[in-house]
């Protein structure tokens, strides 16, 4: 029983974090921009989503709103970097720090508190009757549980993840999307095409953080609330998923990079589940996350060296 519930947990978490990892793929892999903003934007997405469905708004609309809010935060990071020439890491730190306040005030004011940050809860709970994604059509047609798994929730997350993946694949084939590759690889090239590389970076950061916010929306549904500590550790999960996915399936040509990233996110969550199954207390989660990520980094570098020797 415990085994089945941990399968449910890692699949659900895997698809949930895969959305953010796809965003990281855009900023980290394509644009070569290590973006720390997501620590803040995941929570922004969660808060916006939870408040909106609390007001009875359709969850798809609420997720779109979460995406837009996340994208705006990403734009701020981009503008700080492009216009004010602040280093990528610092931009992320600045914006995610600022978002701590923004998220708190939005949470409080959204629940009837005052702009001083007082007078309401700092957690947005999702009520039993709130229209979460898995409570509406078509997911409500599914049986509530199969093999003790909440497949409504799982399938809803899978569908969101696949929609994001397909849209991202389509976007990356467009002129605008292809320009992101050019900008990340060689800014001079974008410039020589008569395009502003800064604009391309801002677009990429908007996508990356928009997707992080969508993960926040899914997290809020998964946990039944959005609380202020939700964003902690997101960077590690995001980058680890991307690196695991792209290095494990490095030589699998038939898989698109976006598919690899999703698989990477699931593998990472599966590893964490195994650790939990082995009896390590949940308090050790973040430590385990960092250790697993370190192992993934070392293994991927070893594989790269081996690959290079093989090529010679």
């Amino acid at each position: 029983m415990e085994f089945i519930s941990s399968i449910e947990v890692f699949l659900e978490n895997g698809f949930m974090y895969a959305v953010m990892a796809l965003g990281y793929f855009v900023t980290y892999s394509i644009l070569d921009f290590p973006d720390l903003t997501v620590e803040g934007t995941v929570l922004t997405g969660g808060v916006v989503f939870a408040l909106m469905i609390g007001a009875g708004i359709n969850p798809w609309v609420a997720m779109l709103a979460a995406f837009i809010c996340g994208a705006l935060a990403g734009c701020v990071t981009g503008v700080l970097h492009v216009k004010l020439k602040i280093r990528p890491l610092l931009c992320g730190i600045l914006v995610s720090t600022a978002l701590i306040t923004v998220n708190l005030i939005v949470t409080v004011v959204g629940q009837g508190g005052s702009f001083t940050g007082e007078g309401a809860l700092t957690t947005v709970s999702i009520g039993r009757n709130a229209p979460t994604l898995y409570r509406i059509f078509p997911f409500n047609l599914l049986p509530a549980s199969v093999l003790n798994m909440n497949i409504r929730k799982l399938l809803a997350f899978v569908v969101v993840c696949l929609i994001v993946k397909i849209l991202l694949d389509l976007y990356l084939k467009t002129k605008n999307g292809m320009l992101l590759y050019a900008t990340g690889n060689n800014e001079q090239f974008t410039s020589m095409l008569g395009q502003n590389p800064g604009r391309s970076k801002i677009i990429g950061l908007a996508i990356g953080n928009g997707l992080a916010a969508v993960t926040g929306a899914l997290m809020a549904q998964s946990r039944g609330n959005a609380n202020q500590s939700m964003g902690i550790g997101m960077i590690v999960i995001g980058i680890a998923s991307v690196i695991i996915g792209t290095s494990v399936f490095k030589n699998v040509r038939c898989l698109k990079p976006t598919t690899k990233v999703i698989l990477g996110a699931i593998i990472y969550q599966a590893c964490l589940s195994v650790v939990t199954l082995l009896g390590v207390p949940t308090a050790y989660n973040k430590l385990i996350m960092a250790v697993l990520f370190t192992i993934a980094l070392i293994v991927s570098r070893q594989m790269e060296i081996k690959g290079r020797r093989g090529a010679e």
Binding site: T174, K175, N176, M178, Y181, A182, N185, F189, L193, G194
Partner: protein, 259 residues
């Protein structure tokens, strides 16, 4: 075509290392000229190209192209009418994309980069015909990632890409310097063919005196931010590598270097 008027360019401003490279520098290029620029390191050749392209900004003075003042135009806007190939073959292409994707991106230059599909199957024959002109076998490698090409192949691709759009000015910044002798010969031939066919105004910085003599319509030698030799027409045709070397050496000795 190009006018540099009264250019002042300093480096390391407000530090003890402050140096003035250009102090009231003037330079003109006529339409259709193919200018080879030679000179020792630090003479200002590459800086001049960077100023024209907008990668560097001058402290004062103005730059005009076809009579239009481009002094305040950012680099990416100037690229609309400037094609550029760098010494480093990596600079002119995107290594994580395929040849086809690189060309499709370049094909769209000066148009909107919107949400239309980037690679169009209809254009592949056109791309192949452009690549076939280089005679490097690139036309059969459209699906290959540019990062996997040799330096010579990449530079040939960069040259094709730089010439794809309707440019007024081609800037070649020691574009054969990083290649082996055979590849650099080849790239120079392709360059010459492109420039002749399209009659495009070209500025080429080179350390290869033979290239400067064999190709192009004008030779300019620079030294410490000044033009010290400017040969056109018949004078250019009569110039020999030895003559250039002599002048080169005499300047060098004046500057305190003995050979």
């Amino acid at each position: 075509m190009i006018q540099l008027n009264n250019i002042v360019k300093r480096f390391n401003i407000a530090t003890p290392d402050e140096t003035t490279l250009f102090d009231g520098f003037n330079f003109q290029v006529e339409s259709g000229e193919f200018v080879s620029i030679i000179g020792s390191n630090g003479s200002g050749k590459t800086t001049m190209l960077n100023l024209i392209c907008g990668s560097l900004r001058q402290e004062s003075g103005e730059i005009l192209i076809d009579g239009r003042d481009i002094t305040h135009l950012p680099e990416y806007r100037r690229s609309a009418f400037i094609g550029r190939v760098f010494q480093d073959p990596k600079m002119g292409t995107c290594s994580s994309l395929t040849i086809l994707e690189n060309m499709a991106l370049a094909d769209n230059k000066n148009k909107r980069y919107g949400l239309g599909r980037c690679v169009s199957k209809k254009r592949t024959d056109y791309y192949k015909s452009l690549l076939a002109e280089c005679d490097m076998g690139l036309e059969s490698k459209l699906g290959v990632q540019v990062g996997n090409l040799s330096g010579g192949q990449r530079q040939a691709l960069a040259l094709v890409i730089a010439n794809m759009a309707d440019i007024k000015l081609l800037i070649l910044d020691e574009h054969t310097a990083a290649l082996d002798p055979k590849s650099s010969e080849k790239i120079m031939e392709i360059t010459d063919r492109f420039v002749r066919e399209r009659g495009i105004t070209t500025l080429m910085v080179t350390h290869n005196l033979r290239f400067a003599i064999e190709y192009g319509s004008r030779i300019v030698m620079m030294h410490e931010g000044k033009v010290v030799l400017d040969l056109k027409d018949q004078e250019k045709k009569n110039a020999k590598v030895d003559d250039l070397l002599k002048i080169f050496n005499s300047i060098s000795i004046e500057a305190g270097n003995s050979l």
